[in-house]
């Protein structure tokens, strides 16, 4: 299968690889997919509770090149956005930006899910108050 140049670029130079402290109440962690399915994405965001702005984002992905590119792109896109705006990112926009073929659409769906899961985790932590130990998103 031939990959688009953008996929190759993200694969070769992934943006924002890494991890944020998952117990930090201002960090939301989204962990989606499953090893049995061949794809697991971890997307984390550091959000300013005062402004709702996503100040930092990091990812790690186990999956094909398109999955890596989708999550790398997702971190680029959410950074600097407000939480509400980030929630509006659709997988179809990722498909379009990366020129993903139909068999790779689910990789983009996973990236959208990861954004939503990370924000949900952040909101849960904020709602529960900082006293609660953050749960990894996977354990709920």
């Amino acid at each position: 299968m031939a990959y688009s140049e953008k996929v190759i670029d993200h694969y070769k130079n992934p943006r924002n690889v890494g991890s944020l402290p998952k117990d930090d109440p201002s960090v939301g962690t989204g962990l989606v997919g499953a090893p049995e399915c061949g794809d697991v994405m971890k997307l984390q965001m550091k959000i300013n509770p005062e402004t709702d702005v996503i100040e930092d984002a990091k990812f790690k992905t186990f999956g094909c090149g398109s999955a890596i590119a989708s999550s790398s792109l997702a971190t680029e896109w959410v950074k600097g956005k407000k939480v509400d705006e980030a929630l509006k990112i659709k997988n179809t926009e990722i498909v379009k930006e990366l020129n993903l073929p139909p068999v790779k659409i689910h990789c983009s769906v996973l990236a959208e899910d990861a954004i939503k899961a990370a924000i949900a985790d952040y909101k849960r932590k904020q709602g529960a108050g900082a006293k609660l130990q953050a749960q990894p998103a996977s354990a709920d």
């Binding site: 299968m1 990959y3 690889v17 049995e36 994405m41 186990f62 090149g65 996977s138």
Partner: protein
């Protein structure tokens, strides 16, 4: 074009020396020789006159063009038969091992319908066998799919126990195309003979690579294919035993009655000539080639193991083709690994590389977890690979696995001591 074998008429020793001297690496590197092999230049050279000069129809009885073509095809039949310990009359030409498998299984099923309707095969056969058996099930045949062990081997006691008085055929491959594991073919042949049941083996990956002898193994039918052994694509054979017992087959392609009525159609003479030459070369060079490829394969394996942890071999190392390596690189999805080593042609058992979204059914049958199946890579070494290529491949794989593990949330979690098996994953 791979160097080394490029000129005909050079002695074996000089040829190898020339190959070793040739240290300049040509990219991309082909290491997917289970999928197909390049045509050996010596094979191509033998084929060429049969396209334009000696182009006759081997079935034309009235002129020299026909006689010449027939003679060439018969010569090739001898060469092929000789390689597998058969006689020329026992070789039926087909278009591919897929057709050979179909002809063997459907041909026996129809011909021996009165005798019984039970066929025994195994879980890790090539689809050409499995899907043929599945179709027969629709027509009322009963098929037993023997499981395999973690090593990829059938259990002979289970085979024995599966036999009934309605069993007409055992079809079990010799060498598997993904993991290279070799079934205990001699014991299977002996058992089949003892029970009076026909034995077909898909020997496509083994013939020309390791010794295979229809007499020694008591094989009644065997599929082989030219393009897996440095011959051309689209030409193959089915060995059909003529004596002790004489195997009869119903044809699946009807027509002019070629190939003793078992397979009609004008013979692909240039292809057949190439197939014959490929068999002759394989027979002559097999001992050296096996040893050389085993050395390269072991170098590949050791190179990877020395520099990476959590690499798992799929299937038995002991009962295995000398030129195969199939390994899982934990925490690194196969397709992304292939993308990182894009100047090396290998293949992966990951679902992401297949259209079906299912990882390799072969690895699944071995009990390899789907998580590890997604991280598997098959290396198939061949005649034209060099030591320098192996070293390059090791470097590229190691470098890419290390990089992708840094990118892998699973690797991070495993290093933190999280038990990935106990996690509850939110799959979409």
């Amino acid at each position: 074009m791979p160097k080394g074998a490029a000129r005909n008429g050079i002695g074996e020793k000089e040829r190898i020396l020339e190959r070793d001297d040739d240290m300049a690496l040509k990219l991309p590197i082909y290491m997917d020789n289970h999928a197909t092999t390049p045509v050996d230049p010596r094979v191509l050279e033998t084929m060429l006159p049969y396209f334009t000069q000696s182009f006759g129809n081997a079935a034309s009885r009235n002129h020299s063009f026909g006689w010449e073509a027939e003679k060439a095809a018969e010569n090739a039949r001898e060469q092929i038969a000789h390689l597998i310990g058969a006689t020329a009359k026992e070789i039926i030409f087909t278009s591919g091992a897929t057709e050979s498998d179909n002809l063997a299984i459907k041909g026996v099923a129809e011909m021996y319908r009165e005798k019984g309707n039970h066929i025994i095969t195994m879980a890790i056969e090539h689809k050409a066998v499995l899907d043929t058996c599945k179709r027969l099930e629709k027509y009322g045949y009963l098929v037993t799919y023997l499981p395999v062990s973690r090593e990829g081997l059938i259990d002979l006691d289970e085979l024995r126990a599966a036999l009934t008085d309605k069993t007409i055929l055992i079809t079990i491959m010799y060498a598997n195309n993904e993991i290279g594991v070799l079934q205990p073919i001699e014991e299977i042949g002996r058992l089949a003979k003892e029970k009076g049941v026909l034995f077909h083996t898909d020997a496509t990956q083994a013939v020309g690579k390791i010794p295979f002898d229809v007499q020694k193994f008591n094989v009644d039918l065997a599929s082989l294919s030219a393009h897996k052994m440095y011959g051309p694509k689209g030409v193959a054979a089915l060995y059909v035993r003529r004596r002790n017992p004489r195997v009869q087959l119903s044809a699946i392609i009807d027509g002019g009655g070629h190939e003793r009525g078992m397979r009609s159609g004008t013979l692909n003479v240039p292809g057949i000539v190439g197939f014959g030459k490929a068999c002759e070369l394989a027979e002559k060079e097999m001992p050296q080639e096996m040893a050389r490829l085993r050395g390269l394969r072991d170098r590949l394996k050791e190179g990877l193991f020395a520099r990476l942890d959590e690499v798992y071999i799929n299937g038995s190392m002991e009962h295995r083709l000398p030129h195969n390596l199939n390994a899982s690189f934990a925490y690194v999805e196969g397709e992304s690994l292939l993308m990182g080593i894009n100047d090396v042609a290998v293949s992966s058992g990951s679902a992401c590389t297949s259209a079906t979204l299912e990882p390799s059914y072969v690895l699944k049958a071995l009990g390899v977890g789907e998580d590890l199946a997604h991280t598997s890579i098959r290396f198939g070494l061949g005649r034209f690979n060099t030591e320098a290529e192996v070293d390059y491949v090791v470097d590229r794989v190691v470098e890419t696995v290390v990089r992708l593990r840094e990118l892998s949330p699973l690797y991070e979690m495993a290093k933190e001591g999280v038990d990935l098996k106990q996690m509850q994953w939110k799959a979409d």
